[in-house]
């Protein structure tokens, strides 16, 4: 290429990519995993405590599940609103992304931000921006499971 001072051939790009990788510091994998392990485990323990608590109040199994979710999701939405969930997430990583609290955080954060474009086209339309694929592919795989189950059983 005319006047080319960087090697943009496939070979050049690969070498450049290797140089980028060697100069880019790695995230501290072990400490990140440890933090994710501990915080994810703690959130699950909170879930278990809630489950046991609601069960001891004589709710049936479905209600216990729903009530536990309500508390976890409600707390997550509240923390998101106060700007605290993102601070937690910075530290906990997957520990706050993977539990159902992360799902709620993605919906709350998207719609809080979308509010500036109005309640319908903003808030309403953006709520599932991040969480949407989970619902789409979750439902799709459940339909697959259902169909296979019908024919296999």
């Amino acid at each position: 290429m005319w006047g080319e001072f960087m090697d943009t051939t496939e070979k050049g790009k690969k070498a450049y990519g290797r140089a980028v990788d060697s100069l880019t510091p790695n995230s501290k994998l072990f400490s990140n995993c440890l933090k994710a392990f501990v915080t994810g485990g703690l959130i699950c323990i909170i879930g278990e405590l809630l489950k046991n608590g609601f069960t001891s109040m004589d709710f049936d199994e479905d209600s216990v599940s729903l009530l536990t979710n309500m508390v976890l999701i409600g707390t997550s939405a509240l923390l998101t609103g106060f700007g605290l969930y993102s601070k937690l997430g910075k530290f906990c990583g997957a520990g706050t992304i993977v539990p159902i609290t992360g799902f709620a955080n993605s919906m709350a954060s998207s719609s809080i931000e979308g509010k500036s474009e109005g309640w319908i086209m903003g808030l309403g339309a953006t709520m599932f921006n991040v969480a949407g694929p989970v619902i789409v592919y979750g439902l799709a795989s459940s339909i697959l499971v259902g169909v296979v189950y019908y024919f296999v059983k």
Binding site: C33, Y137, G138, S142, V147
Partner: protein
């Protein structure tokens, strides 16, 4: 009774912790974004629920298996199987949403409330 409760909590902690730690490895080591990892988790949870494996993880880890997003996939699978048992093939289409209806409705309501009550904040 107390003693065995505490052991259960340890299993909950470890199960949930491992599921999250695996996701952390995927985030740090691969170029997968968290959105893709979550889709992967919900689908795996659903498929493992479909073949009857996830219920063993749940009986071992309790909330450690149901609180992570894999648990959401498992809920979908359980719901779909119950509906197919009770109404046949069409149950494949109703079971998933029926089982997750509560969770999704709660999430929508609380997200709406949060958006109405709060304003975005800078960092």
């Amino acid at each position: 009774m107390k003693g065995s409760d505490k052991v259960d909590y340890l299993k909950v902690f470890v199960t949930g912790g491992i599921i999250c730690a695996i996701a952390q490895i995927l985030i740090d080591k691969t170029k997968l974004t968290s959105a893709r990892i979550l889709v992967f988790y919900v689908v795996i949870g659903c498929l493992l629920g479909g073949i009857g494996l996830y219920e063993h993880i749940e009986s071992f880890g309790g909330a450690g298996a149901t609180v992570p997003l894999t648990g959401f996939g498992y809920t979908l699978a359980k719901g779909v199987k119950e509906e197919v048992d009770s109404i046949g093939l069409l149950g494949a289409f109703t079971g998933g949403l029926k089982a997750s209806a509560g969770g999704i409705s709660v999430a929508v309501l609380f997200s709406l409330l949060a958006a109405v009550l709060f304003n975005p904040k800078s960092k």
